[in-house]
């Protein structure tokens, strides 16, 4: 087997050195009646070519984003990733290293974590960011738990336009941990009264902008209301590119920002792995979950970086830790930070403008299709359209015509018939004029 360097002669010599007769002597503590003894209902080893063939066959059954006009978003976005990113994240020293617990030989990882933390803080307009969470949804759930610790209250209010998967992720942990969640019903037109829900027992209000249906929200007034009641404002986003063009949540009074970083540097990959961004104010940093990289000096006074404030973490504090998280999203962080370094402020702003312009153009084209209504007044690169009839059928019919036209809301909100005619449609820089025209044409045909 090509991955196993020991030869049979090696094995024999090593067993002799150890002083046992055979390998099973080393498994002596395993109850004999429980051993597998060679019978597994699985095939045997394969060469590289054969594995490529088998997996290639499975991959070929799927329709990748680049092969068709593609407008699917709702929490994950197709963006072009420069070749440099993918090359660099496969550098052996990045790909095959561990969490940087031995900082003297992990300065590469530590420095990019430090750069990432700074980039995320700048992007979100917050003071400090951690070294990543699993993804946006789990970052949002951790943000809620963090707010509970800070406020010593245990009730979260969720905007109806929070991504439904994020809402469910928060609800699951709340239900299991015995916390309270009030989730407002979806408001696809974009208007809801969250302020009215903030009582003296509320720890946090969780609101997404751009929201699940694409609307942008000014969080300023809501932040003031929350703060007046002693609650925190948690701002969520799923499309990080938006921050190149729209107001940063930190500038609108957010106390914690939780977002998905996939759309910078990371592939769609059917939903994971992605990278959760979590940022907050300096004063809350000791209640933050996850790893933090900090600057220090070495014995010779040279600048260096280490993981720090570890007394928040499970490997030191065990049951008193701020979270159970250990492994987070290292390589996805690296992809994010390299792509953002390449873009820089100028590139990110331009990328965001292209996304917005493409969405404006698409919304205009779709609104001209008879029977179609665009619900958004404001948006970044995603809008919600109402179609006559069943949105899921429309999407299937579009797919049959070779257009992946978005996400029917019913896929995520199956229990709400009032949303069954809605489609969330995203446009990014990958879409061409022809793609948009093809979408509008196909939509006319299927309606």
């Amino acid at each position: 087997m090509r991955y196993l360097p020991l030869t049979d002669a090696d094995r024999k010599a090593m067993l002799a050195k150890i002083g046992v007769a055979d390998i099973d002597a080393l498994f002596a503590d395993v109850p004999p009646d429980k051993r597998v003894n060679g019978r597994l209902d699985l095939p045997n080893a394969k060469g590289e070519l054969e594995v490529e063939r088998q997996l290639g066959r499975l991959a070929a059954l799927n329709t990748p984003a680049g092969s068709v006009p593609f407008f699917v978003g709702a929490g994950a976005y197709i963006h072009h990733v420069p070749a440099t990113v993918d090359h660099l994240i496969q550098r052996s020293e990045f790909l095959t290293s561990y969490t940087p617990y031995q900082p003297e030989i992990a300065q590469g990882t530590l420095q990019y974590l430090y750069e990432f933390q700074t980039q995320v803080a700048q992007l979100t307009g917050m003071e400090v960011a951690n070294a990543s969470m699993y993804d946006g949804s789990t970052a949002a759930a951790e943000a809620v738990l963090m707010a509970h610790r800070i406020t010593r209250r245990q009730k979260a209010v969720l905007a109806g336009n929070l991504h439904p998967h994020y809402r469910e992720t928060i609800e699951t942990i709340a239900r299991m941990a015995g916390h309270e969640v009030v989730a407002l019903p979806p408001a696809p037109a974009g208007r809801e009264d969250l302020a009215g829900q903030i009582g003296a027992d509320v720890s946090c209000v969780v609101v997404q902008t751009p929201d699940f249906y694409g609307h942008l929200h000014d969080l300023g007034a809501l932040a003031e209301k929350a703060h007046a009641a002693g609650a925190l404002l948690i701002a969520v986003f799923t499309e990080a590119v938006a921050l190149g063009l729209v107001q940063a949540p930190g500038a609108m009074g957010a106390d914690i920002v939780a977002g998905e970083g996939q759309s910078i540097g990371n592939a769609l990959s059917f939903g994971g792995p992605y990278v959760g961004l979590l940022a907050t104010r300096q004063k809350f940093v000791r209640q933050m979950p996850g790893r933090l990289c900090g600057e220090t000096v070495d014995k010779e006074g040279r600048r260096g970086f280490v993981l720090t404030l570890s007394t928040r973490e499970q490997h030191i504090r065990r049951e008193k830790a701020t979270s159970n998280i250990c492994t987070s999203s290292g390589l996805c962080v690296l992809a994010f930070t390299i792509h953002l370094s390449l873009l820089g402020e100028a590139g990110l702003r331009r990328l965001a403008r292209i996304n917005h312009a493409n969405a404006v153009q698409l919304a205009g084209l779709l609104a001209e299709v008879p029977g179609v209504e665009v619900l958004n007044e404001t948006f970044f690169n995603e809008v919600t359209i109402r179609v006559p009839g069943n949105a899921a059928d429309v999407i299937e019919n579009l797919a049959a015509k070779g257009v992946l036209g978005g996400v029917p809301v019913s896929r995520l909100e199956p229990g709400r018939p009032e949303l069954a005619d809605l489609i969330v449609v995203a446009a990014t820089e990958v879409n061409t004029d022809e793609d948009r025209a093809a979408y509008a044409r196909a939509l006319r045909e299927v309606l």
């Binding site: 429980k34 699985l42 092969s67 660099l88 699993y134 998280i325 390449l342 590139g347 153009q361």
Partner: protein, 576 residues
Amino acid sequence: MSSRQGRPTAPGDAEVRESETFTGNRGLQIEEPLIFEVGGIDTTGVDLPEAPQVAARLGPLERKGQIGLPGLSEPETMRHYVRLSQKNFGIDTGAFPLGSCTMKHNPRLNERMVRLAGFGDIHPLQPLSTVPGAVALISELSHWLIELTGMPAIAMTPKAGAHGELCGMMAIKAALAARGESRSVVLVPESAHGTNPATAALLGYRIEAIPARKDGTVDPEEVAKRLSTDVAAIMLTNPNTCGLFERDVVAIADAVHAAGAYFYADGANFNAIVGKVRPGDLGVDAMHINLHKTFSTPHGGGGPGAGPVALSAALAPFMPVPYVVADRDGLRLIEHAGSTHSAPGAGVPSPLVGEGQGGGDSRTSKGGVPPTPNHSPQGGGESARRSGRGAVTFEVGAQSFGRMCAFHGQMGMFVRAMAYMLSHGADGLRQASEDAVLNANYVRAQLSDLMSLPFGDRPCMHEVLFDDRWLEGTGITTLDFAKAMIDEGFHPMTVYFPLVVHGAMLIEPTESESKQSLDQLIASLRGLAEAAKAGDAARFTDAPRFAPRRRLDETRAAREPKLRWTPPMPHKEAAE
């Protein structure tokens, strides 16, 4: 793994010495500034067209002012990150015997496979009719994990080991609730990973520690003493963090079940026993599998991981959404709790295994839906499972506790793990486990005369644990010893974990090390051990001397946390 027990965190007398070169570089070790110190606010390494002119629809929410993000041209970017990479030690650099972390070879075939457009460029919410290959891959991987764990169902969505623990413990809590019970205690051995107590505490459980007995394993009597109708579960790592197989695991499982509690197994060390013994046959109710450890999806400097959770028939109904079921219509992805579906387990041919296979029949591909929970490797369950007509005694996910994260899990890790498993096959996976155990014991056998083994000189599993008794009187700590290994060109072993052993040094060579490599590691460790005993303390307390950095001041980092670069970029107009 690492912790701070007894660990000096500040360097000794700060000896600031002059740079030996004008640049501060040392040959191939090139000092690299932060991007914030070299990048420009107007610089970009991505050529994008002008945005089309449109009437903006941002309302009043267009960003005002500068973001403060530097950009680099492509060559600058390349050089920046290549130089950073050269300050890192990876598995490809040299031996990386980091106990409990399983730093095995990361095949590049896995990286090629995950980058196939049909896996990498598919969206989690595009129509399911356009991603049958993705659903089939999840199902196929589930099938392999079911077969290897001997457990009837797999929850695929957890994003890393600790997330998997949360999944398993939530399934347990949900199962208890379904029985109308609310228990408050979780038993955790003192040697457990920190994630175990942290996970249980997250769900409101009170942790009760179980001391290790003299031989480093858990005493079933100690477990029995603590069991009551208030105990929800035990969280047990097997092989445990001392590198030992819990030989009384079946008795422990029986006692736990007799008390109406559940057995959560931390699968971090599953790599020692894959193909040798199946957790399901030992009475485990839930076990996460670190795909990034056992099945070699890379660690990537701290993730991303993937932590699918194998579940017993008792817990399978509570598994989180989404999950894949196989029924008469083929494979289906169930995305919502409360969805009704039967679990008939009709054998669905896997698209992966169209042709004849050596070693066994893997035509059944059921993402977590076998027809019988009483499957045994030799018994009648096998044929029932193959024919797909066995009695259905539970429904996967029928009482799902809900959703743990957006979308369907770490697909990128699933593809890598699948490539790894297909490459090894059943025979190769078993051989990998055996070689991992062999390598660890080879290291043990050749160091036991110099270094002290806390639980006696007996066979270990995939990792060997030493303590620091042998360093007594030398003035050298475990940390010093680890840092001296860096100078010798190795990544240190895990230090100060598990906590049950003083000054722990946990060595896990993995199956990826050749005998020559092990011999070199052993010779180096012996040399260091002899130097330590001979009083050559400076070699250790000064170490590392040849790494990109000398020892770093962790105390200072924690006392005055500086967690981001400041000040922000000078304010001037952006490019556009």
